[in-house]
């Protein structure tokens, strides 16, 4: 438990886009488990509150309380095949934090949001599917951008990406989560919407998500139609979370992939260091003496430390490799883009 990976996910979206509702549905789905993957709140009371929120939504149709200026923070334990793998740190901010001022007269939660995004391993951009019922052509683009806050999102994401590029840090993975996707007519006979068309519209709205080296998934999700009954409740068969787990699994897979790459790079550095140490040992004078012996001992110690470090790195690398390999097949119907191009390496996008 103490040595799990710590993964930060940051979520942005306009007020009413469905961020809090999505979180409830995600938790409901993954706390039950999806294909050996589970998520549990580390705090039992928070676990109960999330479950209560989902029940209120499913039984009475009561949407979660609007988030105020205090973000709701969660620490989830991600486990696969009953093995705890990572802590996921998640904060649910009000939509209004995104377009708020920062600084002495600004909103503290707006500063926290920017800080979270700057540090996150994964960024989730939440867009209300209501805006995508119809094609978002040039005539509607500005209005949709205004209402979904994609302009502010692009600005924040661009800032995070440029800062990380400048500092040589790994880029965060990005998911564009289209909530209420059940309202979009995907299969109708009368001009059904196609996911590929939606992706093209998103390119125009959120170009930063399709920038060079950025890995982005497009994830339409739904909690169901939530059809009302006469007594004010919700029809049980209209509560049907669909694909809500995919964005999180995508970010996890990307995290493990990136972590593996980082370990590969560090092992290369380690190999170079080891070679240098061996050269240093070989260069020592052949005449035995106290100074030479001590130098040999120092180098031997360094090599031992390097061996231990390499051993640890290899094991963690194998774990990351195995996790990424286990998760990516679950994403086979999710369109994933790298640098704006369909990422064939992910084996996805066939749906």
């Amino acid at each position: 438990m103490t040595d799990l990976h710590r993964i930060g996910l940051s979520m942005m979206g306009a007020p009413g886009a469905g961020k809090s509702t999505y979180l409830l549905a995600l938790y409901a789905a993954l706390s039950r488990g999806v294909r050996d993957c589970t998520l549990h709140e580390a705090d039992r009371n928070a676990d109960v509150m999330l479950a209560d929120g989902w029940r209120d939504l499913g039984e009475r149709g009561r949407l979660p309380e609007p988030t105020d200026t205090v973000p709701r923070r969660h620490t989830f334990v991600y486990a696969r095949e009953m093995r705890p793998m990572a802590h996921i740190h998640w904060a649910d901010y009000r939509g209004g934090a995104l377009p708020s001022f920062v600084g002495p007269d600004g909103s503290p939660d707006a500063e926290q949001l920017l800080w979270d995004v700057a540090q996150a391993h994964g960024i989730m951009l939440v867009l209300d599917g209501e805006h995508f019922r119809k094609p978002v052509g040039p005539g509607r683009r500005e209005a949709v951008a205004r209402e979904t806050l994609t302009q502010q999102m692009s600005s924040v994401v661009t800032d995070a990406l440029t800062a990380r590029n400048r500092e040589g840090r790994p880029l965060p993975s990005v998911s564009i989560v289209i909530t209420k996707a059940d309202v979009i007519d995907w299969r109708g006979t009368d001009a059904p919407r196609r996911l590929t068309d939606l992706v093209e519209e998103l390119r125009d709205l959120l170009p930063a998500a399709f920038a060079k080296r950025v890995v982005t998934a497009i994830c339409p999700v739904s909690v169901g139609a939530l059809e009302r009954t006469a007594d004010g409740g919700v029809r049980p068969d209209s509560v049907s979370p669909t694909d809500v787990h995919l964005p999180v699994l995508f970010h996890l897979a990307c995290f493990y992939l990136e972590e593996r790459k980082g370990l590969d790079a560090r092992m290369e550095v380690l190999a170079a260091d080891r070679a240098a140490a061996r050269r240093e040992a070989a260069a020592l004078p052949p005449v035995p003496g106290r100074a030479t012996r001590r130098a040999h001992e120092r180098i031997a110690l360094r090599l031992q430390e390097m061996d231990r470090a390499e051993h640890a790195m290899k094991q963690w690398r194998e774990l990351c490799q195995a996790e990424a390999a286990a998760i990516f097949p679950m994403l086979r119907y999710v369109p994933i883009y790298e640098g704006g191009v369909l990422a064939t390496w992910a084996g996805t996008g066939r749906g």
Binding site: G16, P66, A79, G96, V102, Q112
Partner: protein, 428 residues
């Protein structure tokens, strides 16, 4: 020592609630008060992300050094028939009033709690309508900053003059069941020291209260006694690693990165923090954990209880110590050494404002029954934090640990001027 009641007149409105179109929350702030700091801490703690406000408003009376805040956190529909929803979700809000002290005296007292409870819809409703109506449909660009409010006459009748209590209330947080709410409210109205009272919780709030709220009193409907156990935030058990899989060595440390500046006031993303908007718990959790522990025989918190020593065989069993009745006057102390007795100063447990509170070096734990044994007390106080305070009510039992001794206390009678307790003391 009583304080003269000559504070600056007038109460400036505070309104915290979002509009139909703009997801910004501070609508009205008194002039001269920053939205960051004490006021924000109190309001956030009372609102708690809107949790549990349906049909259950929460009433706030808080005192900082120079200001007093009276208000209510409730559903916006309680205050307005038209401005309570963004079209999909019901809104919640906080409406209150701040009075400020000055060179001429402290801030005036607020209304009695029954008055506020019965009249908050009209009093707070008028303020809500007045401040929200002009901006309800305004665009975000016009609502980035709160408007400033000025002191105005309070909507409640002037309370009869009462002396202020210069005595600081016992520090820490306490849960108060409904019968004690009015008294707690009155005590906060009399206090000159920082105190925050929030009445009306349907269940125990979660999270830690922000720093700077002073003494905290939480009125919880479901509190069965003076103190209610709080479920400790226990981690959800996670599956243990599969045994056949070799344990991984410690994860290699990440490569060093240049430190990045943190935003002022921000919190570390990787530090688990509050859920649900920040409740008022913190110190309460510390206080009530002891009760939870005692009620469950020592494992309510998930912590390992201190081992109870097995009785040592001995040829002769000493007679159990007889309880001693001790009357401790108000502001006085009870000491265990050399024998249980009242002292004026420097004792182990103090009595003030109908509260028993432990000295800094003592541990005081409430017991579910009145007849705790030595072993029971030893187990209960082990590992507990020092300096807790409890409301003294007749029949309540406590365990006390001091530097030199252990004792079981049972409260016999409680008066404003003195408390009488039966003390059974043992050496450590």
């Amino acid at each position: 020592m009583a304080e003269a009641r000559t504070g600056r007149p007038g109460w400036a409105p505070v309104v915290y609630g979002r509009t139909r179109h703009a997801d910004t929350w501070w609508r009205a702030l008194p002039e001269g008060i920053d939205q960051r700091g004490w006021l924000e801490g109190v309001v956030r703690a009372a609102v708690a992300g809107g949790a549990g406000l349906h049909g259950a408003p929460r009433f706030v009376l808080a005192r900082s050094g120079a200001h007093r805040l009276v208000g209510v956190a409730c559903q916006a529909a309680d205050l307005s028939d038209t401005m309570h929803s963004d079209g999909a979700r019901e809104m919640y809000c906080f409406v209150g009033w701040v009075a400020s002290g000055g060179p001429s005296g402290p801030p005036p007292p607020g209304p009695a709690w029954p008055q506020l409870r019965d009249s908050y819809r009209s009093w707070a409703g008028a303020v809500y309508e007045r401040w929200m109506d002009p901006v309800w449909t305004a665009p975000l660009s016009e609502l980035r900053w709160p408007r400033r409010s000025r002191p105005e006459p309070a909507p409640w009748p002037a309370p009869p003059p009462r002396p202020f209590s210069a005595a600081p209330p016992p520090a820490g947080a306490e849960v108060v069941p409904p019968p004690g709410w009015e008294q707690t409210w009155d005590e906060a109205n009399d206090a000159v020291h920082p105190i925050t009272v929030v009445l009306g919780w349907e269940s125990m709030p979660r999270g830690a209260h922000p720093a700077g709220l002073g003494t905290v009193r939480l009125g919880v409907v479901g509190a069965p006694a003076r103190l209610a156990p709080v479920p400790a935030p226990a981690p959800v058990p996670v599956p243990a690693p599969v045994a056949s899989r070799p344990a991984l060595p410690p994860r290699p440390a990440p490569p060093p990165q240049a430190p990045r500046p943190r935003p002022a006031g921000g919190t570390n993303r990787l530090v688990p923090a509050l859920v649900g908007g920040g409740g008022l718990l913190g110190a309460v959790a510390v206080t009530v954990l002891a009760v939870g522990l005692s009620a469950s025989g020592g494992d309510a918190t998930g912590e390992t209880p201190a081992p109870t020593p097995s009785p040592t065989p001995s040829a002769t069993t000493p007679a159990p110590p007889a309880p001693v009745q001790v009357t401790v006057p108000r502001r006085g102390w009870l000491t265990l050494s050399p024998a249980p007795a009242p002292v004026a100063d420097g004792g182990d447990v103090g009595y003030r404002n109908r509260q028993l509170f432990a000295a800094e070096s003592s541990v005081l734990v409430m017991t579910p029954g009145a007849g705790a044994t030595r072993e029971r007390c030893r187990g209960l106080v082990a590992g507990r934090r020092a300096a807790l305070s409890f409301r003294a009510t007749p029949g309540t039992g406590f365990c006390l640990k001091t530097a030199t001794g252990l004792a079981a206390l049972v409260v016999d009678t409680v008066r404003d001027g003195a408390v009488t307790v039966r003390v059974t003391a043992w050496p450590l």
